[in-house]
Every structure is written in C-alpha cells, then in structure tokens.
C-alpha cells in the first residue's frame, strides 16, 4: 500500500517536472474515472458487507469443512460470490483444512475466490461491458474447476 502511494507520488512529481499541463490532464482523467466509479463501488461494497455479515466463518466451516461433491460445489459457489480479502481468506482456508476440507474443496474455494467476482460484476460491467464481464467470469469458474481437479489429482 505504502509502496503504491510512494510510486504514485514519485510519478506525479516526475511528470510535473516534465510537463505540467499534461500531468494535470492525466491526473484529472484518472480522478474522473474514479469519481464515475464511486456509486457502483459504494453499492457493491455495501451489498458485500450486508451479505458477509450474514455468513460467518463458522457457517462456512460447516459447509466446506469436508470432502465430496456437495462441499466442492459449495466451495465453488461461495468462492464465486464472496469478496474476502486475502488476509482473512487464507487463515479461513487454513481452518477449513484443519477441519478436514480436501485439496479439491480448498483449491475450488481459493481459485474462485481469487478469479471470480459475482458481487463485483457491476464494477466489472462498468469497465468492460456486460458481454466481456460475463464471459470472463464464466470461463474463470470453469477454469477453477479444472484447477481444483488437477490439484486434487496431483496432491493426493
């Protein structure tokens, strides 16, 4: 985080020295994109917090803490829908593992969590349009199934 802020500050400074007008145009363009995204972002983040407050880690442990088809599908679904930051997701996955979740379930959960974003679809649609956003997520889910099955085959 600090790295990004430092890089941005340096970039703006260097750019200002090189060309003041152009820098202002660039910064303004970036901020305009940000402001345009804000309503969508606010809606998504509010919806995510309402949903995630309803689903507690113990609930997830009940759903995903074993092996078999149903936990596997549940892992794909939960991972696709949820928006969990890495610093919560990986400890949670560690707990799931200790509870007896299989490699396939863990891989399905982690991979969909990282690559599929159903709740963030409104944001993705704003950037890429409906067609690309839907296709990308659909393919990412199928990719996650492949990753999970291959990993299960390798690690067990």
């Amino acid at each position: 985080m600090e790295v990004l802020l430092a890089i941005t500050a340096l970039a703006v400074l260097a750019s200002l020295i090189a060309d003041r007008r152009r820098t202002l145009a660039g910064v303004r363009r970036g901020l305009r994109m940000f402001v345009n995204l804000l309503p969508t972002l606010a809606a998504v983040l509010a919806a995510v917090s309402l949903l995630m407050a309803a689903v507690s880690p113990p609930t997830l442990e009940g759903w995903l803490g074993s092996g078999g088809t149903i936990p596997f599908v549940a892992a794909l679904l939960v991972g696709s829908i949820a928006l969990i930051p890495g610093f919560i997701a990986f400890p949670l996955a560690g707990v799931l593992k200790d509870n007896g979740a299989t490699t396939a379930v863990l891989a399905a959960f982690i991979t969909t969590l990282l690559m599929v974003g159903i709740l963030t679809l409104p944001i993705e649609i704003r950037f890429f349009g409906r067609r690309i956003a839907l296709w990308r997520n659909l393919l990412a889910v199928s990719g996650a199934v492949v990753v999970a099955l291959v990993m299960a085959a390798i690690l067990s």
Partner: protein, 200 residues
C-alpha cells in the same frame, strides 16, 4: 409517460448505492445506540474495512492510470503487447499482474487503460488472471496458512489455465469488440456534487 417512467427508474438507480450505504450505517448505529445487534456491527465493520481499503489505494491507482494514459504512446504498447505481439507479451503481463497488490476491482482500471492503448484482449485477460491468482504479496499469506506445496502446485496449475482462458476469451469475442468509455458518466446518474472534485 414512458419517458417519465424511465426517468424515475434512473433516479432510483442513482439513489440505490447511497441507500445501501445508509442502510449499513443505520444497522451499525442501531447496534451502537439502541440494543446489541451483532449483524449490524459486523456489516458496519465490514463496510468500514472495505472503504478504508478502497480509499487507501484506489485514487492513487487511478492517478497512475491517468498518467499512463497521457504519457505512454499507443504504438509502444501495441508493439509489445498488441494483437500481433508474441509470447513475450505473456511474460510482461504476468510480471505486471503479480507485482501489484490490492483487490480485483483495483486491477480493472489498469486493464482498461491497457486495452484502450491497444493491448490485445488476450493479454488484458492474462494480466487480470495473474493479478487475481498470483499476486506475490498474497502468495506469502497462502504459504503461511496452506503450505508451500499447495501454493506451488496451485500457481503451477493456474498459470497455464488462465493463459489458455485469455486466448479462448479473445477468440470468443468479435475482433472489433469495444468496451465502455471509463470517463463517461453513469447514464442518468450524475449527481451535481461530483464535478467540483474533478475540476481543480
């Protein structure tokens, strides 16, 4: 009549995000003021966390994207990662994606900037894939909780999968596929308070 209905619909659509935010705040306040209400507390804490995460790095990300837009010439981007670029482009994209941090929606502005400078769609999707699945800062977490074996195998298996998906997705889309203009305002939803912050 139809126009009025549409306008009302647009108004509701524009107000919805802030209504959702207000709902979370009300639930949170109920827990603080009236009676213990774990759901409200959780939702409020969640929104606060997400908002902090967003405010901390998204504006900086967008400023970088804006600078990239005005400084980097289109032909350079096209030559290295455009439609006719070779497999080396994949390496560039994976490097770019893995070195960043932050949530997925932070990668979208970068992806769109790349796209608009002439990056091939497959390379944009490979960038997104690398960003999602292989961020270096995140891998350290994964190793800590799931073990290096799991992380290593997941990385090795995921990489070829999303490279393949990038090519597949490019094939699925028409050659002249267009994406929305990120600077265009939301249809029907441009609250007046938005302009001062950009016009400085």
């Amino acid at each position: 009549m139809a126009a009025r209905g549409k306008r009302a619909f647009e108004a509701v659509k524009a107000a919805l995000p802030w209504a959702l935010v207000a709902l979370v705040i009300v639930l949170w306040a109920y827990d603080r003021v009236a009676a213990p209400f774990p759901y409200g507390r959780e939702a409020g804490a969640g929104l606060w966390g997400y908002a902090l995460e967003m405010i901390a790095f998204l504006p900086a990300m967008f400023v970088l994207v804006g600078l990239f837009d005005v400084w980097v010439p289109r032909r350079i981007v096209e030559r290295h990662v455009g439609r006719d670029s070779g497999p080396l482009a994949i390496v560039w994209m994976v490097l770019l994606g893995t070195l960043q941090a932050g949530p997925l929606y932070g990668a979208f502005p970068v992806a769109v900037a790349l796209w608009r400078k002439g990056t091939a769609p497959r390379n944009v999707f490979i960038y997104l894939g690398a960003f999602c699945a292989l961020k270096i800062p995140m891998l350290t977490f994964e190793v800590a909780f799931l073990g290096w074996q799991f992380s290593l195998v997941r990385t090795a298996v995921t990489l070829p999968v999303f490279i393949f998906l990038g090519y597949l997705l490019e094939r699925l889309l028409p050659v002249d596929v267009a994406i929305p203009d990120p600077e265009a305002t939301l249809p029907g939803g441009t609250p007046g308070h938005e302009s001062p912050s950009t016009a400085k």
